[in-house]
Symmetry: C2
Subunit: 335 residues, 2 copies
């Protein structure tokens, strides 16, 4: 079936990527509407050769649609999405973190838990970018071997913070290359040629909320509330693409060739693993790709059931916009 679709936050980094994916994937549409904040409203965006005016997002303005693809900031989401849910009859696919952990709201990566979409779901959450790429690799290993624990360190690109942060990275980098003093342009410290282990707010026990998101969302998506997941999240001076160094303790013995085969067969995952020949995932080569790339797979030298691997994906594609569009495609297929 075809649908009437609205993109909320259409002018942001993720919103624009959603729009270009809808075009690229020839998403079955009857009609499309773009909503954004008052600063962008009145402008227009191209869609499939037509000019579409951007409407202002407010409750008076918004009309009903079959699907709302939302990439609004967290607070705006908290404010508007419940009201849209009340006023309209369509389904919301929500890229913000505001409702992800609410028990009645499914948190979905279509390749993994599309079953969670069953029933009359009016509000579906799109997981955190770092979580999505990690669970894509964990899922086939969990099913085959079981997983005892996950220890991950991330290398997260600046696009995860939006367009303004990307501009700051570029401005700071230019100044640094000119030998000028660099003031922080977006984060608390400069990010150009620097590393910040500081994503989202901090809990009393010392973990950042980004680290806790990876833990809680992984558990929810994999339906494993007891899974041990402990992360360290670091912002790095990369534009697009998150990397993750992941250590897994599997519940049963494995061979690397089995792991390789399972991951080769997993839809949406691509194995790049011949490091001696320079073949491994990198953010630059993953940019604009729909795949989650995995490489550097090796057995722990001390623990027979320990597996190290390295995961990279475009955080704006599979980590956000693509996954949201895939959820919309699932919904249409089910009907």
């Amino acid at each position: 079936m075809r649908s009437d679709l609205a993109v909320l936050g259409a002018t942001g980094l993720v919103g624009r990527e959603i729009v270009s994916l809808l075009e690229e994937r020839d998403f079955p549409l009857d009609d499309i509407s773009f909503y954004a904040s008052s600063s962008s409203a009145g402008n227009a965006m191209q869609f499939q050769g037509q000019v579409v005016e951007i409407e202002e997002l407010n409750m008076k303005n918004i009309s009903d649609h079959d699907i709302f693809l939302s990439s609004l900031p967290g607070e705006v989401s908290s404010e508007y999405l419940p009201r849209i849910r009340d006023k309209c009859s369509g389904v919301i696919i929500d890229n913000s973190s505001a409702f992800r952990m609410e028990p009645e709201i499914p948190l979905v990566v279509p390749e993994i838990n599309s079953g969670d979409l069953e029933g009359d779901k009016r509000h579906i959450a799109n997981p955190n970018c770092s979580t999505i790429q990690m669970v894509m690799v964990l899922k086939p290993l969990l099913d085959e071997f079981g997983i005892e624990r996950v220890i991950a360190s991330t290398y997260q690109s600046v696009s995860g913070s939006g367009a303004e942060a990307l501009e700051a990275l570029e401005d700071e980098s230019r100044r640094a290359l000119q030998g000028k003093e660099v003031e922080p342009g977006y984060y608390r410290h400069p990010i150009a040629f620097n590393l910040l282990p500081d994503i989202d707010y901090f809990h009393d026990d010392g973990f950042s909320q980004e680290e806790i998101k990876m833990r809680q969302e992984t558990r929810k998506i994999l339906h494993r509330d007891d899974l041990s997941v402990n992360c360290t999240c670091v912002r790095v001076p990369v534009k697009f693409g998150h990397a993750e160094s992941v250590y897994l303790e599997l519940s049963s013995s494995f061979s690397l060739s089995e792991v390789n085969e399972l991951l080769e067969r997993m839809p949406g995952v691509a194995v790049e693993d011949d490091p001696a020949e320079g073949v491994y995932p990198t953010p630059l080569t993953a940019e604009d790709s729909d795949k989650v790339f995995v490489g550097r797979m090796r057995r722990d030298r001390d623990n027979e059931q320990g597996l190290h691997l390295y995961i990279v994906a475009d955080n704006i594609r599979k980590g956000a916009a693509l996954n949201a569009v895939q959820i919309a495609e699932e919904l249409l297929n089910e009907e």
Copy 2:
């Protein structure tokens, strides 16, 4: 006592840092000589207001000195250092990786195992940069609680590969900021705004030699040949300063305040740990400092004896030049 000292490879990144540290620390010297490859020989360097000519490093040319502070590349070290050992009577402090794992050659971080310098040692190895900053944090925890295992992911700056790599990072970054195509200027892939999990050559089991160095050297320095140490080493687009996300499983129960106190008391280590206030180690703030900075300390949410922390140090200072100069100072103090 005062000494006659030679700096081998005086014009490299580490060599220059050694020279500036000798000045800064008022190292007790009778005489200093600089040796470098033929391309630099004949030029001169300033030292304590005097002009010192750079001599060409070859066996005909080299004369005896009390201490040879060597930061020659690996292959040059393999070729020259044994011959210098034979021809001369002085002690070699060797920053290369060529001889680090030889049983009769001590591998020394002065704050940790200066006892290994005892006896008539003619050749002393300076450990790998990533190893040094990690063992500085492990040592007090090992002594107090015992350590069962170490899982580390590194974020290693480009200066670790030398001056040519730093230039490539800058050139590539400039081109990328101008929207031009970026060809790899030093590594196999571009490093500007990118990440490369590729440091040194690869072993058949998938680990890189850098990852194996961290394992083997940590064991040797801590005198714990059975310690489980498994690492993932990644090059990041940072100029100076390596970061490490480290997970430790301690052998006995601990409190975070005990850990904090132990690390505060460890000479050469500085705790920076108030992340909610933006206080944590970063490469930019660690640059040109002699300290190893540690922060983001927190207990694993599932394992009572699991401790996560984040370590940053200037890889050219404590990671290389400073540690070598400290070894020389130890030798003079012993006499």
